[in-house]
């Protein structure tokens, strides 16, 4: 290096360009760590909140409750629409909370997803039946039409049949006040 003749330009100093790829890589690593450590939320929120229920008319899913149609939700009083199934474990977990809501005078309707009559009857005998009506949705058509992506999900429907709130997953005891508040906001 020192042997270089003065006046002749030496090799260019690498400077920032040398470090740039490493810095980019470090930035990428930070991004990945951030992405991995973030609490993954895989809930798909319905884009149909604030919109009226689509038209449907489901046959009854059980022998002792009528079926469920859109017209049942436009009678002036807010109601809960519970999307559930007998084969769904968290649906049994939320049963006491639904019973508590029903005991407070909340009217609850059910949509049974891909369910057999005998399985549903056993489920209701075991976990109680808080439903006024239960519609039978063997092809998940109503579920898809309201933007629900799993069981259980609970929707607050106001007295004019407009979807006002969506609760994803089982209703825990601490969720009951929230749902009561949403029902009140919907005009209970």
């Amino acid at each position: 290096m020192s042997a270089q003749a003065p006046g002749k330009p030496g090799p260019k100093k690498p400077g920032l360009a040398l470090w740039l790829p490493l810095m980019l890589f470090a930035g990428f690593v930070v991004l990945v760590i951030y992405g991995l450590s973030r609490n993954a939320n895989t809930d798909v929120v319905s884009a149909f909140i604030g919109k009226p229920l689509p038209a449907f008319d489901l046959p009854p899913a059980s022998d002792d409750r009528p079926g469920l149609a859109t017209a049942d939700f436009t009678k002036g009083k807010p109601r809960l629409l519970n999307v559930f199934a007998s084969w769904c474990v968290p649906c049994a977990v939320e049963a006491p909370q639904l019973a508590a809501l029903a005991a407070k005078g909340v009217e609850i309707d059910g949509v049974a997803i891909r369910d057999r009559k005998q399985d549903l009857a056993q489920f209701l005998a075991q976990n109680g039946n808080p439903f006024a009506r239960i519609g039978r949705d063997d092809l998940s058509q109503v579920q898809l039409a309201i933007g629900s992506s799993g069981v259980p999900e609970t929707f607050v429907i106001d007295g004019r049949g407009v979807i006002r709130y969506q609760h994803i997953g089982d209703i825990r005891p601490e969720d009951v006040p929230i749902i009561l508040r949403k029902l009140a906001e919907a005009g209970a």
Binding site: A47, F48, C88, D115, L139, L144, S149
Partner: protein
């Protein structure tokens, strides 16, 4: 060493083949969940659409790839609607109205997605400018 590998493979096989823990429904799959439309042209249309719709239960799979009952019900819905003459993009819009853009693997051109479409063009222009600078310099040196 060979025994160890065998043990590892056996463990892996057990992990991959064990039955799912989640409860499943006992209903048979929807009529068009696993049955193609009789008209191959319509089935091809349905297939193209189903490959770009997200399964909402198993969110990294398309509904064409998933065996979740809900994905089967979505395939049934797509196939029956296409067989009835509906446009595939209309079905995509119908689903986006309910589940948001997340349900579609094909990005739509929207104010928030324009960089996605513009980025390749911008990168091409930048590369062209960079190359032009290099060529000029090497010409000057020659």
């Amino acid at each position: 060493m060979k025994r160890l590998w065998l043990a590892i493979m056996a463990l892996l096989a057990a992990a991959l083949c064990s039955p799912p823990l989640a409860a499943q429904d006992l209903l048979p799959p929807a009529p068009y969940a696993y049955k193609q439309i009789a008209d191959p042209a319509l089935e091809a249309k349905a297939q193209t659409l189903m490959l770009t719709l997200r399964c909402l239960k198993c969110q990294s799979q398309s509904i064409a790839d998933s065996d979740a009952p809900m994905a089967g019900d979505m395939r049934h819905q797509v196939r029956t609607r296409i067989a009835a003459g509906e446009d595939p993009e209309a079905i995509r819009v119908w689903l986006i109205e309910r589940y948001g853009d997340y349900v579609s693997y094909t990005p739509q051109l929207k104010p928030i997605t324009w960089p996605l479409f513009a980025a390749p063009l911008i990168i091409l222009v930048l590369a062209a400018l960079l190359l032009r600078g290099r060529f000029r310099r090497s010409k000057a040196a020659a």
